[in-house]
Subunit: 405 residues, 2 copies
């Protein structure tokens, strides 16, 4: 049973009509008039445009779109039934295998001709990416059609999220919060990083499966179900912001930095918290206070019509005013969607103007060697008014101090 | 405590001397004499050459190697302490952030000049890859030095594994086997895919952590600790070879296809089995028999001096002789190492000559819509004599039939 926590309706995947609308927006974009259509290789690109989530291997997969014509997914034989079951396309076309006696690009060249993509095609690469040992020619050389790099155009159309996307990310954030609650409750002196993370993930996943009764799909590349982790950010090691698991043992006095999320029909959110085992020292408390002040000012600065750089600029000003430069390590945040990080970035070098419907993680951090790291991350959406939280978890010190007994 | 299962010494990471030897092999390779040195971007490339495992984001990381000079790791500020702790390099050089007001490629260009990489550099890309929204210029345009694509040379030097690499992959296979045993034992009618997978992963991970007493590191991008999964390959859905989790409920009569592995200081193995819930039907038994015969003949064909294509050719001949073409979906196998798949491939189109020390997954599969998929995968090493199994798990039908009660 879902239990007392889960009281709202379950989320549903992106509808077929929205995939069509995304493709139409791209084909109708003023910067794409010079091409006959598109060839997309990247797994996130293909998923965004047709909903097919696949594991990238040495066998290329491509989504072909012809202006005023068919949308075709080009896959190796082993993916045919999978693609036919899940991809929102007009047709699936298969090649036998890679490398095989006839290279996949030879098969693809025939398909380009059949679809009329003979003059110029746009996309995210002139040939398949070199994944897991794949080698092959440029598609322009194999086909004679010219390639136009139009990945920036697709990237730009992905920046503002639709209501359906925001709903999925809000639901992802709900489950991130549940996993984080279980992580926080399971963490205690003497236990290990890995066992606590497994317990939190398993517990939250069981809740989700009970709530969804078979209707949940991750449709993603980062596992299935909610999780919450430390990624090695425990004690002094928390001063390394992008560390990996070191299977630390929790000890009194540790500064802890967490991360939690849940893939939800392909979409992600980000929730991170700074916690302490036992009451923080004066020094820990001071950095926690700066971190919270920085996050407050950054969230408040996320307003439609302002630039991304202005948010990070305000954060950097605070670092300078309080003489905290030694503790600075990274920009304020990033957009989030099908990918865990995506542009635009809350960075002094990104002058993108924020729009209603853009999402950001807001996560200014301070890092002090020997003491630890101090970073909360919340996922917010820019609106016509104040930014709205999609994550929902306590941010105040009192509720983030764990019992040291 | 490790328990009765684990009786051999624990594995240890690749030594600093081996990283140096890898770099020297590359710098001394006859096809690299035209360049001053190298710039490597890919996370697997950087890890192979200096042992630094990092999470790729919008912030580029590059490994620079100068013939007769320093090896330098170029990282964003937030990775400095992490890189200094783990990378086998002479020096770590940091840029502040991406995109920032000064683009990382501007900083990198200065570093190229400082290191004397001013005429030509080799590597896996002319500029940083477009990960998570990264955008930037070609490094040749930014620096004025010319770029020579030498990724194929590095790829070739990675194909034959060292004794230390084989030892790590054998240890990975041991833990894959433990997770698979727990998966098989936990699977029963009415339970769900996800709960059984979590139980198997958690149990095997706890065993590993007890055995390693803090000395285990995954150093990888696919999680930490052993796991065993179905990836949705349950019942009729097992006919989709590269499916994703669908949280199926196990039922009597199901054909099951599994996958198990464990990242071990950066290295992977592959273990997969076909199982049945309850005694197989006549049809299930027939396909299982073909699958086993195919795997036997393919393993036996993996001999030093023969071509990769000859192994897959023998498999395809068997399919043809037994009129099984409709059930064919993919080639026989692939090399495995830091990446879960890598070249050379056991494929009719890959004429690489097998050498002692090359690893392969051997996994010919048959797929029958409505009935299921039939595939074992074992990881073997080519020797001067018979191929040697690194995986060690029952392959016979009797020990792969689960109780249907």
């Amino acid at each position: 049973m879902p239990g007392p926590h889960y009281t709202h309706p379950i989320a549903t995947p992106i509808a077929a009509a929205e995939y069509r609308a995304r493709r139409d927006r791209l084909l109708g974009h003023p910067e794409t008039t010079d091409v006959d259509g598109f060839v997309w290789w990247g797994n996130h690109r293909v998923f965004y445009l047709c909903g097919f989530a696949f594991a990238p291997t040495e066998r290329p997969i491509a989504l072909l779109m012809r202006r005023g014509g068919e949308t075709v997914l080009f896959v190796p034989r082993l993916e045919v039934e999978h693609a036919e079951a899940y991809a929102n396309v007009d047709r699936v076309v298969a090649y036998p295998e890679y490398p095989d006696v006839t290279h996949p690009m030879t098969h693809l060249t025939k398909l380009l001709r059949e679809l009329g993509l003979t003059s110029a095609f746009g996309g995210d690469g002139d040939g398949a990416p070199r994944v897991m040992g794949y080698r092959g020619p440029k598609l322009s050389e194999a086909s004679g059609a010219s390639f136009v790099a139009l990945d920036d155009v697709l990237e730009a159309t992905m920046q503002v999220k639709s209501p359906a996307e925001i709903a999925l990310i809000r639901e992802s954030a709900y489950w991130a919060g549940r996993a984080h609650r279980l992580l926080q409750d399971a963490t205690s002196v003497g236990r290990t990083e890995t066992e606590v993370e497994m317990e939190a993930g398993a517990g939250a996943t069981a809740e989700l499966l009970a709530a969804y009764r078979g209707a949940y799909r991750a449709l993603s590349w980062g596992g299935s179900g909610p999780f919450a982790t430390y990624r090695g950010q425990i004690g002094a090691h928390s001063a390394l912001p992008h560390s990996l698991n070191v299977n630390a043992v929790f000890a009194a006095g540790d500064t802890l930095v967490t991360g939690a999320s849940c893939p939800m029909f392909g979409y992600w959110s980000e929730l991170e918290r700074t916690m302490f085992i036992g009451d923080p020292s004066v020094e820990q408390g001071i950095y926690f206070g700066h971190m919270l002040a920085l996050q407050d000012l950054a969230i408040d600065a996320c307003r439609a019509g302002r630039t991304c750089s202005s948010v990070d600029g305000a954060v950097r000003d605070y670092f300078a005013e309080h003489d905290l430069g030694d503790a600075w390590r990274h920009h304020t945040g990033h957009n989030v969607g099908i990918r865990y990080h995506e542009g635009p970035f809350l960075d002094v070098g990104d002058d993108t103007v924020m729009e209603s419907g853009m999402l950001f993680t807001v996560e200014p951090g301070l890092y002090v060697p020997g003491l630890g790291g101090f970073r909360h991350s919340d996922t917010i959406v820019v609106t016509d008014d104040e930014p709205e939280f999609l994550t929902d978890y306590p941010r105040d010190l009192d509720r983030l101090v764990l019992d040291a007994a």
